[in-house]
């Protein structure tokens, strides 16, 4: 198990009811974090439509997650 701080944005934050929380998760990659927090962020979409960052760096869904990492879950963006 790893301690991972998960940050939720926009509709994910509203669904989770918190902007971030530290969870104890059995995960190897960011994709695992997305799956295991599905009831928190509430996305029914495949994660390919979302973006992810680890420790403030944009990452992909194969990026490994280590104990103590911060994982940012971004719903589909809509700038401009």
């Amino acid at each position: 198990m790893k301690n991972v701080t998960v940050c939720y944005f926009a509709m994910f934050r509203e669904h989770a009811g918190v902007a971030e929380e530290t969870l104890s998760l059995d995960v190897d990659t960011t994709a695992d974090v997305f799956e295991q927090t599905r009831d928190r962020h509430g996305s029914a979409e495949p994660n390919g439509h979302c973006k992810v960052a680890v420790n403030d760096r944009l990452a992909d869904w194969n990026t490994p997650v280590s104990d103590g990492d911060t994982v940012l879950l971004f719903p589909p963006v809509a700038g401009g």
């Binding site: 926009a10 979409e45 963006v77 700038g79």
Partner: protein, 149 residues
């Protein structure tokens, strides 16, 4: 330079900051809050952004534009927080020696900004509903996310 602001975007002073004696062409783009989206009457918007990555990714987009379409000066400002109808949500200005680079770089920057920066838009509708707007790519793939009562 990529910036975020929660105050009204002052386009005149931004444009003035791009003055360059070698520039012959200037292209600007502005995204305005319009009164309708996909059949919903919009009353106002809220933008939420994750600033550290917006700045870093925005700077990367501008650097890519410069490599593809060499320009002299470029700047992008994106508004966050609450916006009313008609307000400017994003401003991009590019000054180049010739107009072709100015147009192409400006277009590249807005196209990439819209799909790469961690910014989200919540629309508040006249009928009291609200909803997070999906990215253009999702929309073009026919994706639907919920509209909340």
């Amino acid at each position: 330079m990529m910036e975020l602001t929660d105050a009204a975007i002052e386009t005149a002073s931004l444009q003035a900051s791009l003055a360059n004696p070698a520039a012959g062409g200037y292209c600007a783009f502005e995204g305005w809050v319009r009164n309708e989206n996909e059949g919903h009457e919009v009353e106002r918007l809220e933008y939420e952004a994750y600033e550290p990555l917006c700045i870093r990714e925005g700077e990367k987009v501008i650097a890519e534009a410069r490599a593809k379409f060499p320009f002299l000066e470029a700047r992008c400002v994106h508004r966050v927080g609450r916006l009313e109808l008609g307000e400017c949500a994003v401003w991009i200005g590019v000054a180049a020696k010739h107009r072709d680079e100015a147009f192409r770089a400006c277009r590249y920057i807005i196209d990439e900004i819209k799909v790469r920066l961690p910014i989200w838009k919540k629309e508040h509708y006249v009928n009291g509903d609200s909803g997070w707007v999906n990215c253009e790519r999702c929309a073009s793939h026919g994706m639907k996310h919920g509209i909340e009562k």
